[in-house]
Amino acid sequence: MIEVRGLSKRFGRTQVLTDISADFQKGKVNQIIGKSGSGKSVLCKCIVGLFEPEEGEVLYDGRSFHHLEKEEKRQVRQEIGMLFQSSALFDSLTVLENVLFPLRMFATMPEREMLDRARLCLKRVDIEGKDALFPAQISGGMQKRVGIARAIAMNPKYLFVDEPNSGLDPQTSILIDDLIDEITEEYGMTTIVITHDMNSVMGSGDNILFIHEGRAWWKGTREELLKSDNKELNDFIFAGSLMRMVKDTMKQ
């Protein structure tokens, strides 16, 4: 479980996050939603420790991340897997080498076992026969899947996914969302997904946190989301014509 307590972050004079508190449950897909520029990616980077918040703390199963020693932080980070918006695969490494990378860096098992583990992770995300290809030689959807395989290679306790559907067609988006759901359940991870894609929210969000103007504006479940009368949340959710149709159907 990840707990965020009174987290605030500013860049220069710009206050980006103000007093954010939230709990992200284990074994669930926790989603952070909000408009572009609302501060959700900054919140994610504060949680994973890429940004140092001015106030507040982040607890990983009770361990206050920002108060840990450098070496302890590094150990917590080895329990974190992250899929980036751009996949962030290493261009100079092949698909297999990308998945092998965290294993070669940290695992103590023999090379043979590392290879088996990497191939198993690739198989889990339905990537087979592409071991020797470089990231530039595979599609965006495949890159996301390889990114997921790399993120789960070290068997992480916490999985962060930043905009998993950006640049993907609707069908591939659903496949990626389903994969994240399945893996979260299978590995019992605490998963946090940052998204502004409503299809993804309606399809896979267990717990949802809505960020507006850098504040935790609304929290709840997927079912509660559609019934909420929070104006800013409704403006965000029902901005698209498809979601407006859903709303009209619900009213009828």
Binding site: L50, I80, M82, S86, A88, F90, D91, P102, M105, F106
Partner: protein, 271 residues
């Protein structure tokens, strides 16, 4: 004009200049501090020595061996030009002809091979380093390393520093030989100086310490090229345009620092 407050355009310009200068000084101090912080992070204990070793070997090939062609080409032609220019500028019968070989050797060992080749390498290697690390930064690959718990500065920069510090002295020694050889070829083929006299010149008053001095400079310049360029790349913010800007800055700043340090080292080691 008596004392008192000045509101004219000149005083506004002067105060604006002072503000900008003060801002730039603070900026410069910030970058110097940040640079040394990055160096400290770079030299922390590697997570896995075998991976760092592999990366160092790759960097030796990319930054060193693949620079051999341009270094060889430049050295031969520079040596040739030094020889021709020296001969055409010493027409006096009082100056012996072997001075041509002597001058070619001294120019090559003291300045051309260690400094000019380092400046050329700052252009080739420095821009490569800044562009490579800068692209990784803007494409979130450095964030990916940090989140995995990898010391990204150490993993990306340390192998490049070791590679350049190890391989650049070899490149410079090869450059010395080729430059002196280029001078020999130019002198003999053009008939300006005979091979025998040129060889006599390059052996006259040879001081082995000058080679040591050149190699010390080369090692220091290699460190400057890799760290200044890596610093520019590592802190790139934005997109591909900013990667280009970082790459250009890497070359310009490396060159400026090399020139200043060259002067300081020459004072320290030769006087």
């Amino acid at each position: 004009m008596g004392p008192g407050p000045k509101f004219g355009p000149r005083s506004v310009a002067a105060s604006a200049y002072r503000a900008v200068s003060a801002g730039q000084s603070v900026d410069l101090l910030f970058h110097i501090g940040h640079y040394f912080q990055l160096i400290r992070e770079t030299f922390t204990r590697p997570e896995r020595f075998s991976l760092y070793w592999e990366r160092t070997m790759e960097e030796i090939d990319l930054l060193g061996v693949k620079s051999l062609g341009i270094v060889a080409l430049l050295s031969v032609f520079m040596g040739a030009v030094i020889t021709i220019q020296t001969k055409t500028n010493i027409d006096s019968p009082l100056i012996p002809l072997y001075v041509v070989g002597f001058t070619a050797r001294q120019s090559t060992i003291l300045e051309f091979s260690p400094t000019i080749i380092s400046l050329i390498l700052a252009g080739k290697v420095g821009s490569t380093i800044a562009a490579q690390i800068g692209s990784m930064r803007v494409r979130e690959q450095i964030d990916a390393l940090d989140i995995m718990g990898v010391n990204s500065a150490g993993y990306l920069i340390l192998p490049k520093i070791i590679a350049c510090v190890v391989i650049n002295p070899f490149l410079v020694v090869i450059s010395m030989f080729l430059s002196i050889f280029g001078g020999y070829m130019a002198g003999t083929l053009s008939g300006l100086v005979s091979g025998e006299i040129y060889l006599q010149g390059i052996q006259t008053d040879f001081n082995p310490y000058h080679v040591t001095y050149a190699l010390i400079k080369t090692v220091v310049f290699a460190f400057i090229i890799t760290t200044v360029s890596a610093y520019q790349g590592y802190y790139t913010q934005g997109g591909t345009r900013e990667v280009g800007i970082s790459s250009t800055r890497a070359v310009v700043y490396s060159d400026v620092v090399i020139l200043i340090v060259n002067y300081l080292l020459t004072q320290l080691l030769l006087i």
